[in-house]
């Protein structure tokens, strides 16, 4: 759905995006992570034809950036960093203007549909200047979807929202994902990325890595299983470490933390061993590193895990 090949953007001597080569599949939610100034917004602006690349090529929905710009703008929706609504106009008027500019056939119908979907129908005649930040953000999401785009670019969709509004926006993103749209999500909210994204790209001027959140964790930290025992001692730890498939094992209080390549196969063997050794197992669970750990590790080293 989105393909870039060595996409580069320079502002004078400063390189904002360097040789970005990326494939985003149809229907997936692709998370684009990176620190401030990493080039995320510049990439979105290039892919939505707002600014032109300095070098490289990009296609969106099989249309080429720089050649088919108007066609690209017809099939993409964008939620910019700031909502950018006309404060002196009503919510309905704001959406009507954009629906006309996006050449929507049933302007009234589409405006009503999205105002109702995001719970703004009763406030449709109110001036946007009187809206809360969350309401403006919801209205901006309506605007991004009015023309039913195949690809939706969302730049920090929940930034600055209260938890309730953020939850509503996230639920809505899941809804539009279920409709089969491709979503390109720039976010600093790693929990949000973890929950919503099928794959994640980590960016810092250049692309550091791309993978699913689960694979990224595995590649960086491997898979670890925690055995909560009534009593754990070093003798148990020694017996566990003696098994050939154990990558590493540690005792933390009455817990054994064991690194495994294939927990689905090796957990039953480990459980049997521990029971035979007289251990009382209370719980068994997988230790999940947060996406934040993964992200900070990647950004800190700047080295690809590929």
């Amino acid at each position: 759905m989105i393909h870039t090949e060595n996409l580069t953007k320079k502002f004078g001597d400063r390189t904002a995006v360097e040789a970005l080569t990326l494939d985003v599949r149809e229907g997936e939610v692709f998370g684009f992570l990176g620190p401030n100034g990493a080039g995320k917004t510049t990439t979105v602006r290039m892919l939505t034809t707002l600014i032109g690349p300095t070098a490289g090529t990009a296609t969106v929905n099989n249309y080429r950036v720089g050649r088919d710009d108007i066609a690209i703008r017809r099939c993409v929706g964008i939620l910019t960093e700031t909502p950018g609504m006309y404060d002196r106009l009503s919510a309905e008027k704001n959406l009507t203007i954009f629906a006309r500019l996006y050449e929507v056939a049933d302007v009234k119908g589409q405006v009503e549909k999205y105002l109702r979907l995001l719970g703004l129908w009763d406030r449709r005649t109110d001036l946007v200047g009187n809206f809360s930040k969350g309401m403006k953000q919801k209205l901006a999401i309506c605007r991004a979807l009015l023309h039913e785009p195949a690809v939706v670019f969302l730049d920090e969709p929940t930034a600055g929202l209260d938890p309730e509004a953020a939850r509503l926006v996230r639920d809505f993103i899941e809804e539009i994902k279920a409709q089969g749209r491709t979503i390109f999500l720039c976010t600093h909210n790693l929990d949000e990325a973890d929950r919503l994204c099928d794959r994640i790209g980590v960016m810092k001027q250049r692309l550091i890595t791309v993978d699913t959140p689960t694979n990224l964790r595995q590649r960086l930290y491997g898979r670890k299983v925690v055995f909560h025992l009534r009593v754990a001692d070093d003798a148990l730890l020694t017996r566990v470490r003696a098994l050939p498939f154990i990558k590493d094992a540690q005792r933390v209080d009455n817990k054994l933390v064991v690194g495994l390549d294939d927990p689905e196969t090796h957990n039953p063997i480990l459980v049997r061993l521990l029971v035979e050794a007289g251990a009382d197992i209370q719980f068994v669970g997988e230790l999940r590193h947060s996406l934040e750990d993964v992200y900070l590790s990647l950004i800190g080293t700047g080295v690809s895990t590929d």
Binding site: I51, I78, T80, D87, R88, I97, F98, R100, L101
Partner: protein, 262 residues
């Protein structure tokens, strides 16, 4: 074309909620209509001015021909204020254009707007027309009101003929709007190059200066605004406008605006 009308609709819906713009659109035409009418009224009431033509520049006296001294003096004063009339289609559109751009900047609406399938030319034409139409309509309406009241106030048919001279009709109908178009294009061009769009308004309003120069030059008798001067102004402005419109589309860089506006 539908997108141009959408931009015009959007601009008018937004900009006319700004009190300063409303003030400019309503108050300035009233003021500029009243001033020459007051001069006519004063001229009519002071018939004893007749014969004393010492304050009138010689070349203007020549232009007055058979008019009495009072009528000639009235004509000279009205002519000077009619020059101010020509500033209307410049002042109103530049104020509207500048405020529409300030609005885009402060609310950061330009990025989503540029992300729609609208071309730069459609956007610029829409913005230009949204600024131009109210200014030109307000000027034409004011001039119409001025003409009707002048017709009722002026007893001398010869003076009326000279006040509602084809030169002034040309000036109001053609030169004013051409001047306005130049002002709007300068506003749009400058605003795409500076970080504070209010600078654009100030720079564009400098276009009033040559007009003020003509106004004062006529008062002191250095220059006489006649049909030739007006025709020359129209031709020069037409050429300037053609160049500015073409330059405006090239200079209005989406990228510059998006990356430099803070």
């Amino acid at each position: 074309m539908p997108k141009i009308w959408t931009i015009i609709d959007k601009e008018w819906a937004e900009v006319f909620k700004n009190r300063l713009v409303l003030f400019t659109v309503v108050f300035m035409p009233i003021l500029f209509t009243a001033l020459p009418l007051i001069m006519i009224g004063i001229g009519g009431a002071q018939a004893d001015l007749g014969g004393d033509a010492t304050d009138i520049p010689p070349q203007f006296l020549e232009m007055c021909g058979d008019l009495t001294g009072t009528a000639c003096f009235t004509l000279m004063m009205v002519n000077q204020f009619l020059l101010l009339f020509m500033m209307l289609p410049l002042m109103i559109p530049v104020t509207i254009a500048a405020y529409s751009i300030v609005g885009e900047k402060t609310t950061r609406c330009l990025e989503p707007l540029l992300a729609t399938p609208i071309t730069t030319a459609e956007l610029l034409i829409g913005k230009s027309l949204a600024a131009l139409i109210p200014g030109v309509l307000a000027t034409w309406l004011s001039f119409g009101v001025f003409a009707v009241i002048a017709y009722m106030l002026v007893q001398s048919p010869e003076l009326l003929r000279r006040i509602l001279d084809p030169m002034w009709i040309t000036a109001i109908v053609f030169v004013g709007p051409l001047l306005a178009l130049a002002g709007i294009n300068v506003t749009l061009m400058v605003s795409s190059r500076v970080s504070d769009p209010r600078v654009a308004e100030q720079v564009s309003m400098m276009l009033v200066l040559p007009l003020l120069g003509v106004f004062f030059a006529q008062i002191v008798g250095v220059l006489l605004v006649n049909a030739q001067v007006m025709q020359l102004a129209a031709v020069i402005l037409l050429a300037i406008d053609a160049g500015l419109v073409s330059l405006g589309v090239r200079v209005f860089q989406r990228e510059t605006i998006l990356t430099k506006w803070k």
